[in-house]
Amino acid sequence: MGTRDCQHISSESSPAIGEAGTTGEWRDSFPVIDPEKCLPVRQKKPSCFLCWLYCPEAVISRTIPIQINMEYCKGCGICTQVCPAHAITMVLEEEFYPNETD
């Protein structure tokens, strides 16, 4: 199948989720949250959420417990650095999925 059905004569796109592909594919390590340490979970009320605030990809939810959209998380690790409770750690993809090859 060719691209003739595409009516564009120059490159264009519309802003939409997934327009640029899923950036999660770029990741070499991913964040793992320990809910026992996460402040909003421990305090059972909306608080802290520094990971949500600092995530440059806006893939962390402001919920209890927090959730990370792994389709788009690039694995930058900023959340691990800003978490005052050290609740988030980065795990290498290849350690977690040792049998998968690229």
Partner: protein, 411 residues
């Protein structure tokens, strides 16, 4: 002027104009909406005249003063993408400075029209005429049209908008610096309402609308990709193919637009080149721009001496009229190509294109190339005659192919 049919324009007037003022009149009649240009010799009077038109309210356009030619074309591409009819003009180093944006305008498929007042490239500094500047931009994806006189400048600019806006490829209208830009001659100036009949408003293929936001000319990877709506979109290479296809197919549009212009204004441009006495010619002189008219004088002199000489004056250099050239040169046994440019290390660009067009055809003519008129060196009809005579002589002596071009200069 004499009316030939009912469709033809009723009112035209003859003015005495130099090439730059003819270009500016063409821009004004085309109702251009955005002008951005940076002055450079010998193009400056074009920008000065247009700024006066805007200042006096004769042309309802934004005249944007810029700090460089690169910015001038950046303004034109940006304005074109949001739906404005745009114009810029430049020469030599200004055109070279625009190089990046030339690719951008063509790649984004924007119908920008640019007047290139042909001037020699430095070093050393030289403000006079040759065609090295526009020839050096041959591969940027622009349609290139060369004018032989001031009438063709005004007519070509008006047609350029119709061509560009039909095929979504930018058009460069080239004319020789000083030889045309600063030489006055009678020019038939069409009436505004007739040009309006000929040239419909510009319909952009890119629409900037806050309610339907778009990202234009974004990073585009090598391979096609499926967008969020599930459509398989072109990769970089497919877009390049489409630009080549547009130029390949533009020949038909250029001829149609030239014919329509002729029907309305009495001067037909339904051709990719001008021909003079090609019918029975077995020796053909090929030249481009004002040199193509000088060549007619030379051909007449050679005819008087008993040679069957015709002239092929290239009007459209890109797309190169391959099929038309083969047909025009069918009966020739000698083709003498005069180039006001040089592709260093090989030969004149026009000569290479002619040879390339003839490859695989039945034309078996001997081809000679002469480099002439660089940096404003005067080209006399007598010199063209001598070049043809010496080519005929060496051909007779069995010298069928020369490795490199000959130069008409005093070295």
């Amino acid at each position: 002027m004499i009316l030939k049919n009912k469709k033809m324009a009723k009112k035209t007037s003859t003015w005495i104009l130099d090439g730059n003022h003819a270009a500016a009149q063409g821009v004004k009649l085309s109702r251009v909406q955005v002008v951005a240009a940076y002055p450079i010799t010998p193009q400056s009077p074009v920008t000065e005249t247009l700024s006066e038109f805007v200042e006096r309210g004769e042309l309802d356009a934004e005249y944007i003063a810029v700090e460089s030619e690169h910015s001038a074309l950046a303004v034109c591409t940006s304005a074109s993408i949001v739906g404005a009819r745009t114009f810029t003009a430049t020469s030599a180093h200004g055109l070279a400075y625009m190089h990046e944006m030339l690719h951008w305008a063509a790649g984004a498929r924007l119908p920008v029209v640019l007047a290139c007042v042909n001037r020699a490239m430095g070093a050393p500094w030289n403000v006079l005429n040759d065609q090295q500047d526009s020839i050096s931009q041959r591969d940027t994806g622009w349609i290139q049209i060369y004018a032989r006189n001031n009438q063709e400048i005004i007519d070509s600019i008006i047609q350029a908008y119709k061509i560009a806006e039909s095929v979504y490829v930018p058009v460069m209208v080239c004319y020789d610096g000083y030889v045309l830009s600063h030489t006055e001659m009678p020019v038939d100036v069409p009436a505004q309402k007739d040009v309006a009949r000929f040239l419909p408003p510009y319909k952009p293929h890119t629409i900037l609308d806050p309610a339907n936001p778009k990202n234009y000319n974004l990073v585009t990877l090598a391979n096609p990709r499926v967008n969020a709506e599930g459509v398989l979109c072109h990769g970089y290479m497919e877009l390049r193919y489409l630009l080549q296809e547009a130029l390949q197919n533009s020949r038909e549009t250029i001829i149609r637009v030239g014919r329509e212009f002729g029907e309305l204004f009495g001067r037909s441009y339904a051709n990719m080149f001008w021909e003079n006495r090609l019918n029975d010619a077995d020796v053909v002189i090929v030249a481009m721009g004002s040199l193509a008219l000088e060549a007619i004088v030379a051909a007449d002199m050679l005819r008087e001496a008993g040679h069957k000489v015709g002239v092929l004056g290239l009007r459209v250099f890109r797309p190169f009229p391959k099929v038309d050239v083969i047909k025009a040169l069918e009966k020739s046994r000698l083709v003498v190509v005069f180039d006001k440019n040089i592709s260093y290390g090989l030969e004149g660009a026009t000569c290479s294109e002619i040879k390339s067009a003839l490859y695989g055809s039945s034309v078996r003519a001997v081809i000679r190339n002469f480099i002439v008129g660089l940096g404003g060196r005067d080209v006399k009809a007598r010199e063209l005659v001598d070049a043809v005579n010496s080519s005929l002589l060496s051909m007779k002596e069995g010298d069928l192919s020369k490795e490199y071009p000959e130069w008409i200069c005093d070295i």
